[in-house]
Symmetry: C2
Subunit: 161 residues, 2 copies
């Protein structure tokens, strides 16, 4: 059945970020619409942000194009140029390799949602604009390091156990 | 600038369908959001359908996943299972190779719009469910034939010049 029943698609939280960085995306949940529908060439997620929540740490992708459309509520797009209001129907796109790190923040007092599409590639590297951190993705595994490839430090991720 | 100003993105009509078949998508216009934003791995179009207009002839893709979300107005998704109402926020997806031909029809008396995402591949074949027609796409050129590869006939496309 091509038409999706969004009420039947699981809403999941959590983060792949290491240590305390995972706390930065508390209040973010996602519905994996593309996976539910059986498409595989690009991912389609409907992301829900509670007041105060972030879509991600500010980042840019080296291999994957990304496109977002706000579907409900009000969000703020933050990139190298500053802050941009995003209301339902507003769109933004992030070509692979463009080193303009971006994320969305819900600065309102109501839930907000956006649709995000990203290419699926075998590997990926993404850089974080406001941290000395990058991630390499291969075979579904995420490896976070500093931008020179060395391990993240305890003061970065708060994991001193 | 990642955020798109939709008012500045051209709205274009027209069709690649041969002969009189092009008339079947009169009342359909599109804004090529992905192209305007410089992304290339998948296409993102915002399509506007006047009352009575079709998104396309009913078809399915062999190599390209496709995803749609209705953004304004009311549309009807037609597939092999029948008709399905689609309102703003409703989504549907069409995995490559799934022979369930589909299109959207605006049966309302107001303009309706939807966002459509499709993978960009070097080549593509699509089949039309309600006609003896297929299209092969290579290097940006569209070649329409009957499903056995033979030329379309004048009675199919009304081009008897």
């Amino acid at each position: 059945m091509p038409k999706l029943d969004l009420s039947q698609i699981a809403t999941t939280g959590g983060s792949t970020y290491p240590g305390k960085l995972a706390e930065s995306v508390e209040g973010r949940t996602s519905q994996r619409l593309g996976d539910a529908a059986g498409i595989s060439q690009f991912g389609v997620n409907l992301v829900h942000l509670e007041p105060g929540a972030l879509s991600s740490l500010r980042h840019y992708h080296m291999e994957q194009d990304e496109f977002v459309m706000v579907t409900a509520g009000a969000l703020v797009l933050v990139d190298d140029a500053g802050e941009h209001e995003m209301n339902p129907g507003d769109c933004a796109a992030f070509p692979k390799g463009d080193a303009n790190g971006h994320h969305l923040i819900n600065k309102s007092d109501a839930l907000a949602s956006f649709l995000v599409i990203g290419t699926r590639t075998e590997s990926e590297t993404a850089f974080y604009s406001d941290l000395d951190m990058m991630v390499k993705v291969a075979n579904g595994a995420f490896t976070f390091t500093r931008k020179d490839g060395s391990p993240l430090t305890a003061d970065q991720i708060g994991d001193d156990t």
